[in-house]
Amino acid sequence: MTIDGWFIAGAIIGLASTITCAVAAVMKKKPNDITLVALAAVELFILAYAAASVVRLANGGHIAGQPWEFWGYIATAAALPVGGFYWAMMERTFWSNYVMGAVGVTVVVMMARMAQIWYGISTPA
């Protein structure tokens, strides 16, 4: 797969979000402003990535794979932080931070797949 700036930025934000939430969880802290911001950062990044993808396509960009598969990943990735937030907030314990931490790393995996769809892959998975 081709590694572009979007994937690198997504990997940094997603992993930083996961690490932040995991550290808070290990310290037995309940979700606080810091971990909520970490989760919100993932959501904002996906929204920015979606907007930028629209702009790139409008400027003559091209998705190598199936466009609806790409947008399916975008929609799912955008829904994950929201779902994780509600699921975590239904019961506020330090475990909620682990739940929120699971979102970041999942989005990183999805970013890798989205990069494959956008640029195409030389060897089929």
Binding site: T76, W95, Y98, V99, A102, A125
Partner: protein, 144 residues
């Protein structure tokens, strides 16, 4: 005041769906979504390539959905359902894992369980073990 020795301990036994259970349900939920999306995509676009592998993908997706829902629901019956779903999941990842090792040609198209879930960081292999351990830990709480 009547004092039954078991009562205080009963009250502190956490339910299956709280604490670490929520994280377990989260991970199952992520697998349910990704397995369903993958199976749906495979069947919609390239079903004729490998119908068996893609039907297996769909079966895996259904098992993950069943496990997620039954883990999230309180009560003894749902615990039994979750145990059944996770046993099927464990059996699936072991059988498909062994088959994909022995006869790679029969499984040229990856499913979530191929090579014991290698493509998913072996999480599909570890997840049912953790799930069964979690259910075993909470068997007393579940039976009430």
């Amino acid at each position: 005041m009547k004092n039954t020795p078991s009562t205080p301990a009963d009250d502190v036994v956490p339910s299956r769906t709280t604490g670490a259970g929520r994280l377990l349900i989260t991970v199952y939920g992520v697998f349910a979504i990704s397995a369903s999306a993958r199976a749906g995509y495979q069947i919609a676009t390239q079903f004729s390539d490998a119908p068996v592998a893609y039907l297996l993908s769909a079966f895996a997706a259904i098992v993950y959905i069943a496990a997620t829902i039954s883990l999230a629901k309180p009560g003894h019956k749902w615990a039994v359902a979750a145990t059944a779903a996770i046993c099927i999941e464990l059996l699936g990842v072991l059988v498909v894992g062994v088959l994909s090792l022995l006869d790679a040609k029969a499984f040229p198209h990856a499913t979530v369980w191929s090579m014991f879930g290698q493509g998913y960081g072996y999480v599909p292999l570890v997840l049912p073990l953790i799930g069964l351990w979690w259910l075993y830990r909470h068997r007393a709480a579940a039976s009430r």
